[in-house]
């Protein structure tokens, strides 16, 4: 494998195609698959001929006014979405960048990350399920293997061992009623946390309060490892 193949420089064209496929993926998540509408949104996103290019390249098909991703298109769209959303997580959780800086940087990063690096980031972040905007991150091969070789910087409370400490990184609960309760009990991003035990229930010390919670909630509280220096 030559250097060029291993780390292909992102060409402007590839970036455009990836961008367009990512947009289609997101529109599909929102339930929009109508051809005319997607054509419009691609052109407002700055790529007027992008839609036809995707058809030409064999990534999408338009049938009866509905847009379908072809198997290759599906794979590429999924991949680029995964990279973008992982990049957002990385910038938010590890580098603690301000939200205004996250979006533009993530958009650049997504095109340059290789598959290996994607897996490493995913593992490092503890295989997160959602991007900071609350959209699902398509799982990769590493998520199924659940690679524990590389110890993640941010991981769900449910994967921590008793005695470990850290700070609350984020809560993956959207508008879930438990989110309200957790916030009110002081489980707020940035708060120091210490895990006392994991069985029969998780017992954590958050600030000066002691909470008992079950694993299904623990899986939604992501904690940043304690040793890392604060960057904010």
């Amino acid at each position: 494998m030559t250097e060029m193949q291993k780390y292909p420089l992102p060409t402007a064209e590839r970036e455009d195609v990836e961008e367009a496929l990512g947009l289609l993926w997101h529109q599909r998540e929102l339930g929009f698959t109508e051809g005319a509408m997607l054509r419009r949104s691609l052109s407002t996103a700055g790529s007027p001929e992008g839609f036809d290019r995707l058809i030409h390249l064999g990534f999408i098909k338009e049938e009866l006014g509905q847009v379908w991703l072809t198997p290759t298109g599906e794979e590429l769209a999924r991949d680029v979405t995964r990279r973008l959303r992982l990049a957002e997580r990385l910038l938010t959780d590890v580098l603690s960048l301000d939200h205004t800086a996250v979006d533009p940087n993530a958009c650049v990063l997504e095109h340059t990350i290789s598959p290996e690096v994607t897996e490493s980031i995913c593992t490092l972040l503890g295989h997160p399920g959602e991007c900071p905007h609350g959209h699902a991150i398509p799982p990769g091969a590493c998520c199924q293997k659940n690679d524990a070789l590389l110890s993640p910087i941010v991981k769900p409370l449910s994967r921590m061992a008793a005695g470990e400490s850290g700070r609350v990184a984020y809560l993956q609960l959207k508008d879930h009623p438990e989110l309200h309760r957790l916030l009110a009990l002081g489980v707020i991003p940035g708060t120091p946390l210490h895990l006392h035990q994991t069985f029969p229930a998780f017992v954590v010390e958050v600030g000066e309060s002691q909470l008992a919670l079950e694993s299904s909630i623990a899986a939604r509280i992501f904690v940043r490892r304690a040793e890392l220096p604060e960057m904010s």
Binding site: P132, R181, L185, P200, V203, L213
Partner: protein, 655 residues
């Protein structure tokens, strides 16, 4: 500040704060009144009020349920928030736990938005010192702009200063640390509220935080309409910008500000060596040695309630006080004053009000219930009960419940009626239904338990073993079955664990008195009615008829003597009363081992008492209550009958 008060009106002072920070103790110190205090989150479900003299004036003091946030996510939080909005107190005491300052201040910031004059009470100052945490009250007072008073409510330290500070209560100015999107959103909602609406900012914030409960209130106050669209749009804008719900952004921006404040006023000198109570707190949460501790605790409760209360105390009251003095004395007195057969029978006959109702109520039940409530109060105030919730969470999940349901179930061992009321602390309708069913079916109340233990005492321990096995088995299977049949879902287990504290005896004693008074008010009239019912049933020969009518079930299926019918009929009035009836049968030598075992199981499983039954209707509605009634009848008769058949085949199980 007192100048602004209307002299004709008694001003209101209200206590607001996180759960378990000592609001009720301060309330007691201020008013000399008792509000249910316990080391268990969620005990004060209602608002209690009293009077006091402060700064030469009479004040109404109000204690509110603990809140984690004034944007409510539970019933008790809503009670407090509604009180603030509707009653508009003159001064609010913001009570907080000194060692958990940041959380207390979070609630204070929410409180400040309402615009009431505030005094900050830094309670539990002793516990904070123990942990090496010191709060600079003066600095905090300067930052917030209102008085800050450190107190130790349990000893009364700082109370005098607190009383003086009430005069100087002042509004804490709102310092916005929210991002511009939130500020804009709040501003855009302003148009919908007339200027004169009080606490408008607090209401708008609550709306933005997604608190629907305040919507109706806002509408009633002449909200101009079209607000919901604006609210939704504002919420969506914030969400797009920050990718988090507005509530989380509000918490995060406040947290950032509070971290700054805490850095200025908090000094942590490093923890002192953990006290024994802290170590115990940690140990009792782990399976090992947690279950051992649980076993020791349960054994202690059994010794105190089962042996001392139900044995020693009952023996003395029943045999000596009633047996030797009251009943013969009453009989003598009745003979003297009302020398007719009818009055003698109704007062001191075999079904007499004094000889049966009063002696059951005061000699048999009172000592048992009193000792149980003392023991329960001790467990409650020490902070041990939530630890039991953690240990038993997994088991309770089998029954579609979670660890929170442990509290009503254990309280049920004291009084099932009270416990049925406490099911309100559970989150979902399904959980409340399952616990109500189990309380009606398998959880014996302390009075009944005592009689049962008394009956089993002289017999082979196998009897008690079989009884316990059947009961636990029925609980698990019924709970599991109900969780499969009933619609709805289990809520997730999330609970705050208070620290282990040394309970105050005075407090436990007062709590026992309050509960006992409630119990006696409930019990004694029912005992009297029950005895009268029995008296007339017996006199008119209806008792014999009922015995004959039910004999296929009682004598055939259950294999019990016909007289047992009476115990079950009356068991509906009072569970323990029914058990006591069996006790009499057993003493008369009418029951063999098999029959004792079957009747113990049946009287435990069979119908709840009248008070509990009525409470079931009140809490679960007639549909729920009737469903539970049918289920209890079917399961109780089914299980007891099967047990009878099994024991007929294998008598060795109990003999």
């Amino acid at each position: 500040m007192s100048a602004t008060l209307d002299p004709a009106k008694v001003p209101t002072l209200v206590l607001v704060g996180n759960p378990n920070v000592g609001k009720s103790v301060i309330f007691g110190r201020l008013t000399g009144k008792y509000a249910t205090v316990s080391n268990y989150p969620g005990t004060t479900v209602e608002v209690s009020s009293g009077l006091t003299w402060l700064a030469g004036q009479k004040w109404r003091v109000v204690d509110t349920p603990g809140v984690n946030s004034l944007w409510p996510s539970s019933e008790d939080e809503r009670v407090t928030r509604d009180f603030l909005l509707k009653e508009r107190p003159d001064v609010v005491l913001s009570v907080m736990d000194s060692k958990n300052l940041q959380r207390g201040l979070m609630t204070l910031l929410e409180l400040a938005e309402f615009g009431f004059p505030l005094v900050v009470v830094l309670n539990l100052a002793d516990e904070a010192l123990d942990r090496g945490i010191a709060v600079d009250a003066l600095a905090l007072s300067r930052i917030l702009g209102c008085p800050v008073v450190p107190t130790v409510a349990t000893t009364g330290e700082g109370l005098a200063e607190l009383k003086r500070a009430v005069e100087h209560a002042s509004v804490v100015p709102v310092v916005t640390s929210d991002p511009p999107e939130i500020v804009d959103a709040l501003h855009s909602l302003e148009a919908h509220f007339p200027k004169e609406i009080p606490s408008s900012r607090a209401v708008r914030l609550a709306l933005l935080a997604g608190d629907d409960t305040v919507l109706t209130w806002a509408r009633a106050r002449g909200e101009a309409g079209g607000m919901e669209a604006d609210l939704f749009a504002a919420g969506e804008r914030a969400r797009l910008r920050f990718a988090r719900p507005p509530r989380q952004i509000l918490f995060e921006s406040r947290e950032a500000r509070l971290r700054g404040i805490c850095a200025e006023v908090l000094s942590v000198r490093g923890r002192l060596a953990p006290r024994l109570s802290q170590r115990l707190g940690v140990w009792s949460l782990r399976p090992w040695p947690g279950f051992l501790i649980a076993a020791v605790v349960l054994f202690g409760v059994y010794e105190f309630v089962g042996i001392f209360g139900a044995g020693t105390a009952v023996n003395f009251l029943e045999n000596t006080v009633f047996g030797k003095w009251i009943t013969p004395g009453a009989a003598w007195l009745v003979d003297k004053i009302l020398p007719w057969a009818f009055t003698r029978d109704i007062l001191v006959g075999p079904y007499g009000v004094i000889s049966m109702a009063f002696s059951y109520a005061f000699a048999l039940i009172l000592p048992i219930v009193a000792t149980f409530f003392l023991a329960f109060g001790l467990l409650e105030d020490s902070g041990y009960l939530p630890r039991l919730s953690v240990l038993l969470d997994r088991v309770f999940r089998l029954m579609g419940l979670n660890g929170r349901a442990v509290l009503p179930m254990i309280l049920g061992l004291g009084c099932d009626t009270m416990a049925t009321m406490t099911t309100r602390i559970l989150d979902t309708k399904k959980e409340r239904m399952i616990v109500t069913l189990l309380l009606a079916l398998t959880v014996p109340c302390s009075a009944q338990l005592a009689v049962i233990l008394g009956m089993a005492a002289g017999l082979s321990p196998k009897v008690l073993g079989v009884w316990l096995f059947v009961l636990v088995g029925t609980t698990l299977v019924t709970g599991w079955g109900a969780s499969k049949i009933l619609p709805g879902s289990r809520s997730t287990f999330l609970m705050e664990i208070p620290p282990i504290r040394r309970p105050l005896f005075r407090n436990i004693w007062m709590k026992m008195q309050v509960r006992l008074a409630w119990y006696l008010k409930e019990v004694v009239p029912l005992f009297v009615y029950g005895t009268l019912a029995l008296f007339f049933l017996d006199r008119w020969g209806l008792l014999k008829m009922a015995e004959r009518g039910f004999s296929p079930i009682v004598q055939g299926w259950l294999g019990l003597p016909a007289q047992a019918t009476e115990a079950f009929l009356i068991g509906f009035l009072r569970r323990d009363y029914g058990a006591a009836g069996l006790y009499t049968l057993q003493k008369a030598g009418l029951l063999d081992l098999r029959q004792v075992t079957v009747s113990l199981v049946l009287i435990t499983l069979f119908m709840p008492c009248l008070a509990q039954w009525l409470m079931m209707f009140k809490e679960r509605g007639w549909k729920g209550a009737l469903t539970i009634t049918v289920a209890v009848l079917v399961v109780a008769l089914g299980i007891s009958g099967v047990l009878n058949q099994v024991l007929l085949k294998v008598p060795g199980l109990v003999g």
